[in-house]
Symmetry: C2
Subunit: 368 residues, 2 copies
Amino acid sequence: MDRRQFIRKAGLVSTGAAASVGTLAMPAIAQSMPEIKWRLASSFPKSTDAIFGSSELFAKTVSEATDGKFQIQVFPAGELVPPLQVLDAVQNDTVEITHTASYYFIGKDLTFAIATSLPFGLNTRQQQAWILQGGGLELFNDFLANYNAVMLLGGNTGTQMGGWFRNEINSVADLKGLKFRVGGVGGKVLSALGVVPQQIPAPDIYPALEKGTIDATEWVGPYDDERLGLYQVAKYYYYPSFWEGSSALQYMINKKKWDELPQAYKAVLKAAAALANDDMTAAYDARNFAALKRLVAQGVQLRPFSREILDAAYDAAFKLYEDEAAKNPAFKKIYEPWKQFRAESYQWFRVAEYNFDSYVYSQQAAGK
Amino acid sequence: MDRRQFIRKAGLVSTGAAASVGTLAMPAIAQSMPEIKWRLASSFPKSTDAIFGSSELFAKTVSEATDGKFQIQVFPAGELVPPLQVLDAVQNDTVEITHTASYYFIGKDLTFAIATSLPFGLNTRQQQAWILQGGGLELFNDFLANYNAVMLLGGNTGTQMGGWFRNEINSVADLKGLKFRVGGVGGKVLSALGVVPQQIPAPDIYPALEKGTIDATEWVGPYDDERLGLYQVAKYYYYPSFWEGSSALQYMINKKKWDELPQAYKAVLKAAAALANDDMTAAYDARNFAALKRLVAQGVQLRPFSREILDAAYDAAFKLYEDEAAKNPAFKKIYEPWKQFRAESYQWFRVAEYNFDSYVYSQQAAGK
């Protein structure tokens, strides 16, 4: 197709009007594969390499797929923007894109948590199904329009661990006054049970735990936790993180910049994000075991949270959600369909998935 | 970068040598984004729309991402090639690509089964982690080189259902002589328990079950099974399909055609396949519940396979794998690392993932 025919097919008269419209309004027509450079501000340091590596894979794929015409430079947390201010940076077009966890922004609106994780929420498969095929993506992009942003899935850590405790925690009474480094909605739920949530940046966790400034901390799971060396100062490693049954990350993109992209680049970004999404989850799923084995060899004691603690936290979590839905229409608009999806997907997963897992795991436990 | 500089950077002298090398050997240099048309022969009919729709999404994404330059035309099962001959068609370059299930080709070599599912094998997350980050993809592409093919992940159905039975099946004794439409390695395992596996194409299943020519049949899960109407002629719906704890599909591509692609198009294919991979799994995960609910409303009786049946099948399955590994080096080369990955990923998933799922599902079962 020659250029004149292309312009005609695009519904424009071939009188030079296309050129006068300007590149920003009509980039796909002015040049279908223009040279573009974006900056990605990550909320994560290079040391969380399953996460950071997936964002590098995303950028590499975008570059390769466009023959180097669309370049995304990836910056670790703090280099361009502090890790929890990346959404502001995207909103203000300081950077075009971030790789982040939506729940970092619950200070703006608790609704943000739902895209990453609500305590006792969806597991990884369910969260992804809800976003991709259950209406979640459309709901979130409507919500994110208020922040001049659109999102794509950006990987999932899977179910996280409940964290490192200096002492055993058996009952709700043991949680009273516990200084626990835990953020987000998990922190809100646990505070209802008497925990005193602490906010401490990653590099300061080890010394705080060593000195007893805090009693416990959570981070991610074996693969990332091992690097912080926490097992040397807190030997009880609890599971699961009931506040992160899965933890989904996102690519959030400045909406104006997204809307201006040629169709081809939108397709490339969506596909490259899916590739990185799969890569990150697979990285955690493939690497956690070896780290867990090394931790146990170091004397780490694995402990499940007691039913008493889980039950109390469960009740506190759903009370929190219902209270929020009663006063926050944005939360209610997403929470209610999410809750419905949760109920339905649990019912399905309880049939085939859970029974398959239960049987094969029981065989392994029996040494077969 | 002008063309001369591009050629110089690619390590070629700028004396016209590039042109004389020919387009097949050096397509990325001759033209980085050439016009290409491929034909995809699917093993699946349009009626399995979660699967077929994902292959259409794959082709649409490839086209969009390349501004229409790389077109893949998708043909349902049988239109170009019979559904189980798609690998031959790729190998012979009758078509460039197929969307299929590797285990359809166990008649050539049992090794093919491992990329889709072995009975009592990996669940969806574990299978994907093994392929993407556990060495599975490299092992399979080495194996597929013998068939002039390379693979990309092409979606997963999740744990399937065990199928439709006219009568209850409680013990291994009940399986003796049972005419069960079940193929692949599942059929081999069940035949060791006395089942007489039947091969019947999808359109003939319903009448065969209605007339009693067969006693039972398996297909996929609620979403696909509902359309075949099997609940009208066999009311016992068993779970889980222990022979398909997950069932991974693949895009298989003629290796010469793959090797000839410009780097950009390889990146686009990999990323578009990941997008379609996520879409297909999410489609099943999001749609199975509603179908299951309708089936139960029609009087379908859900039944778990008994422990006795599962245990007998488990022993038969691993005996089959060990026997095959002893006589088939290609199988052994992939089975042994797969088995190791299985053992390790089970140990990790049993900690956080399984305990999270167990708790939240138990809360739902208790009406909370």
